[in-house]
Symmetry: C2
Subunit: 604 residues, 2 copies
Amino acid sequence: MARPRTKPPRIQIEHVWPQIDCGRYPVKRTVGEPVEVWADVFRDGHEVLGAAVRYRRVRDRRWREIEMRHQSADRWTATFAPEACGRYEFAIAAWVDRFASWRWELQRKVDAGQGDLSSELAEGALLYGARSLTVEEALAAHEPDRSELVVSPSLYVEVDPEIARFSAWYELFPRSWGGFAGVTEVLPDLAELGFDVLYLPPIHPIGHTNRKGPNNSLTASADDPGSPWAIGSGVGGHDAIAPELGTERGFRTLVTRARELGIQICLDFAIQCSPDHPWLEQHPEWFYRRPDGTLKYAENPPKRYQDIYNVNFDTEDWEELWKAQLAVVLRWVRLGVTVFRVDNPHTKPVPFWEWLIREVRAENPDVIFLSEAFTRPAMMATLAKAGFNQSYTYFTWRNTKGELQQYLTELGQSELPQFFRPNFFANTPDILPEYLQRGGRPAFEARLVLAATLSPAYGIYSGFEHHENVPVREGSEEYLDSEKYELKHRALDGPLLPLIRSVNEIRRANRALQRLDNIRFLETENDQLIAYVKLERDPPNAVVVCVNLDPVLPQEGVCVIPVELGLPPAFDAEELLSEETFSWRIGRNYLRLGPGQSHILRVA
Amino acid sequence: MARPRTKPPRIQIEHVWPQIDCGRYPVKRTVGEPVEVWADVFRDGHEVLGAAVRYRRVRDRRWREIEMRHQSADRWTATFAPEACGRYEFAIAAWVDRFASWRWELQRKVDAGQGDLSSELAEGALLYGARSLTVEEALAAHEPDRSELVVSPSLYVEVDPEIARFSAWYELFPRSWGGFAGVTEVLPDLAELGFDVLYLPPIHPIGHTNRKGPNNSLTASADDPGSPWAIGSGVGGHDAIAPELGTERGFRTLVTRARELGIQICLDFAIQCSPDHPWLEQHPEWFYRRPDGTLKYAENPPKRYQDIYNVNFDTEDWEELWKAQLAVVLRWVRLGVTVFRVDNPHTKPVPFWEWLIREVRAENPDVIFLSEAFTRPAMMATLAKAGFNQSYTYFTWRNTKGELQQYLTELGQSELPQFFRPNFFANTPDILPEYLQRGGRPAFEARLVLAATLSPAYGIYSGFEHHENVPVREGSEEYLDSEKYELKHRALDGPLLPLIRSVNEIRRANRALQRLDNIRFLETENDQLIAYVKLERDPPNAVVVCVNLDPVLPQEGVCVIPVELGLPPAFDAEELLSEETFSWRIGRNYLRLGPGQSHILRVA
C-alpha cells in the first residue's frame, strides 16, 4: 500500500443512507416526497464537527445545502424534498469547527475548575484574530468555521411525477369501446370514477400470419381481430396505429382530452413482432434463425406463441436494435404518452432497460415505465433498480390473510421501498385469479378494497366492474372468450362502479392511503378478517381498513387498536363507505362484516 | 447516459457476501477458517447459468476456483478456506451454459409431448458439432460451456494467525517480575497455565521531567519509576529498552523462549512522548505549540497527563512522522514481536493506521494489532475495518445478565463479526471494574469464566489471580497504589490460578468455545443466573455455560435446553470444572450455583 501523496482526511463519513447497491443505482422519490438522509460522521480526537447535505438536480449547476442535525453518537441526519422530476444528486459535507472545538475544551476546563487558562486564552485570541480574550468573551464567541472539509461521493435520487407512487389505473382494449373515438367519449366517466391512468394494450397493426382465433386457437377466421400483442403488419409496426382503432389525429385527441381530465394515457411497449412486422424484412439480423433457416417463434414450454417472434438481443447489430426501440418510445412520447407498461421486460437485457429509460427520461423526466415482470424476486428488484418506476407484483396470488401480511411486510422492508413501487392490479387480461373465479361479486369487492388500500398504486382491467369470472377452463387463469382474441362490446356500466368511485375518492381524501410503508397490521382474532391501519403524522391522518376475506359467509371478530399508535383512548371511527360512525377505543372493537365486505374507517 | 460501446453483459451478479462497506475494507478470517460466499446470479430469459468463486492470495498469480452451488431462486453459494496468512482476493465468475440451456428447453418440450422436434435437434447438432442428434442422444449429452462469462469486481479477505481469533492473554509489568530475566523464568508457568499471548506495557526508557509519583501524584521521588507510557528519556525513545528491564539480548532471549513455549510476545505501541523524548529535539515540528511557545501536554479534561506530549498528526511533516512510526514497529518485529497492543488509536488518524498496518503486514502477515480504543461504536468499528485484528471492548462495563446478553448480541449481529474481533479483558491497569471492587473473589471467578467462554479471545492483567480489588478511591476504576506508578514485586502464585488453568484447558479442548458468533442464550428463570450454549456442528461439540452473577448469595434456577438445538432428549452433561456428570434433558434442568460459581458443561 503506497503512502498517500496528500495528507488523507481524518474525518470519516460512513453508512450514508439512502443508497442502493453501493450507489450503483438511484433511490426513487416523487416530487415533494422527502429524502431523509443519514450518515455516520466522526473523526479521531475530540474536535467538534459539523455536517451538511448538499443536493441539486443533476442538470443544475448550483448546489443547495441543508445542515445536518447531530442525532446520537456519531449519527447525523437532514431531510430535503426534491421539487421537480428528474435525477438529483446528493453528498455529505463534513468539517471541523475549530472555534467550537477550542471553546468546548475551554468549557470543560472551566467546568473542572482549572485555574490558569492564560495559555488557552492566548491560543483562542490567535484563532479569533483578537489581541486578547477573557474566558467569558471566549465562551460567548461564535464564528462559523469549516476546516478539514471533506465531501462524500455523490448518491442519486430519481424523482418521478406523483402518479409513479399514487395512482388508480384502468385498463381497456380500445377496440371493444369503439376505438379512440369511443374511448375519448368515455373519458369523463373514467375521470369521474377517479382513475388517473388509462392503460391501453398495444394499439399497433396486428399481424395476419398465424393469427390466433378465439380462446387462443391456432386458426382464425377472417373476422377474428387477433391479439394486439402480435404486433406489425403490412400497415406498419411499433410506430403505426391499427387502422381499426382510428387515426393518429384521433389518438392525439384522446391524449389531449385525457390530459384535460387529469388522466394520463399509458401505452403498452411489447418488443416482439408478428411474422408480418416490417422489421423482419428490414432487419432480418434482429431475429434468431435455426440452422434449417426457420425463425423461432416465442415459446415458454408448454406455452407456444406461434403469432409472435421475439427479437434477438444477442444480435451483432444490437446498437441499431437498441436505437430503434428508443425511437419507438420517443415517437409516442411526442404524441403525449407519459406512461409505458412494458411487456415481459425480464426477457430482455437489464442494461438495455437501464439505458433506454435514462435516455427517455433525460429529456422527459415526467415519463414513467411500469414493469410487467412476473418472475423471481431478484430480477423484479433489479428491473426496478435499473429504472422501472412501477412494477407489477404477486398480489393476485396473495389471497389469505397470512399471505397478504407476509407479502406487504416483504414489500415494506429493508431497502426495497427505496426503489420498488408496486402496482396492485386486481386482474389483468392474462390473470383471472382463482379467488375471483370462485368467490363471485363479494370476492371482487374484497380484492378491490385490498388493492386500493394496501398499495398506493393499483389497477383493474375492464370487466372487473362486472365481476366477470369465467375461466377458459378449470385450473386456468385465462378468461373464457378472452378479449385478447375477440372483439367485445363494452360500456362503463358494471355494478361495482359505485364502490370503485367511493374507494378512489377515499384514497384521494386520505394521505395515509397514498404511501405503502406506513402500514401496520392489526389483530382481529379471526383468520378470515384482515385489518390494518395506515398512519400519517403530519398532518395527522389515520385510516383503519377491515376486510372480510370470506366471499361466502359473514364473519365476526375484533379489531384491536394498540396503545402505541398514539390514538385517543376512545374515538369516533367514521366508516367512509357507508358514512356510519362507530365509537371505537384502544383495545378490542367488535367487528361483523358480510361476505367480502369492508370497513374503511377514518379516525376522527 | 451514453450508449455503451461494447454489448453490456446480460448476466447480473448482485449482493455478493461477505463484503464490508461496498468492498472498501476486507473481511477477516484466521488461517483455515472458511469463507462462505453468497451471491445472486441471474440473467434475463431462460438460459441455464453456472457460477464459481475464484480466489487467490493477492501476492499469488494463480487463481483457484470452486464451483458455486445453486441454493434457491437466484442465490448461489460456495465456501473456501484460506490456508496462509495475508490478504486474499475473491470474485464471482458466472456464465451461460449453452448446452444445458438447449437441453433444458428440449426436455420441457419432450415433457409437454411436442411432436416434431427436428428443428430443435438440428440446432443441437450444430451446437455440439454433430451431424445429427436423436432426442435420447441430445438429452444425454454433456459438455461444459462458459458463454457470456462475466467476473465480478474483487473483494478481499485479510487472513490472520489463529491467535487473532482464539487466544488467552496475560498482561504484566516486567519491572515487577525482575525485568526480562525474571519474566523469562516465569514463561514455563504461563505456558502451563494455558496463556497464548504475554502482553508487556511499554518497555522503553521513561521520562524524568514531570514524572508522576505514586497514585498519579504530580511529584515523584528519586526512587519512583514513573509511568511506562511516559516514553523517552536521554537513553532513547520508542526504539530503546529501559535499562532497568534488561538488554536487547535479554529481550531476544525472552522472545525466543516464549516462542518455544507457544507464547507470543505483545508489545505496547503508544505514540506519545515524555518531555525528555529525543523526538522533541529531533523533530520539534511534530509537536503542537501554543502561541506562547508552550508545548501542550496530553489532557482529556478533567484528566491531565503532564508527563506526556502527544504528537501532532496535523504537522506539515506528516510523511516523516508516519515513516518514523512504521520504523518503530518494524524494529520490534525484527526482534520477534508478533503482536502489538496499540494505545488510544482513536486519537490518531484512521488513514494512518490503515497504511501502517498494511505496510507491516505486507511482509509480516503473521503480525497482529490489538486496538485499545474505548470510544464510540462507529470509531471502534472503523479502526477494526481499517486493519486492527483485535479490539478491546465494553466488556468490563457489561455486568448484568441483560447487559451481557445485549452486548453479545450486538457483537454477533449484522456484518460486525466479519471484521471486529473482541478481546474480553477482565481487568486492565486502567480498569478495575466496580463489580470486581465490590464482589471480591466470587466476582473475579464469575468474570473470568464469562470472559473466557463468551469471547474466544480474552485476557487478564496480573493481580487478577490475587483478586486485587482496592480502588484508589470510591467511584474510581484506578487501582490503589497502581503498578503504573510504583514498583511491585509479583510472582505467579495467586489463588485463582487453578481455575484459570482449568478454563484455558477447557477452551483448548472444545472448539465450540473458539468462536464468538455461535452463542445462544438460554432461559434460567433467575436474573442472577446467566446461561448460554456454544455449538459446533462438525465435528459436533456443545458446551453449556451457567454462571451465578451474584457474588454474595447462592442462586437457584433452571437451565432450559430448547428442542431446536438438536440435542438428544436426555444426555449426560459433564461439568468440566468439577468433573461431575449431570443427567440433563431437553427442557428445564435444575440449577444451583454458589456465589460467582460457574458450570461449564460439555454435552456428551
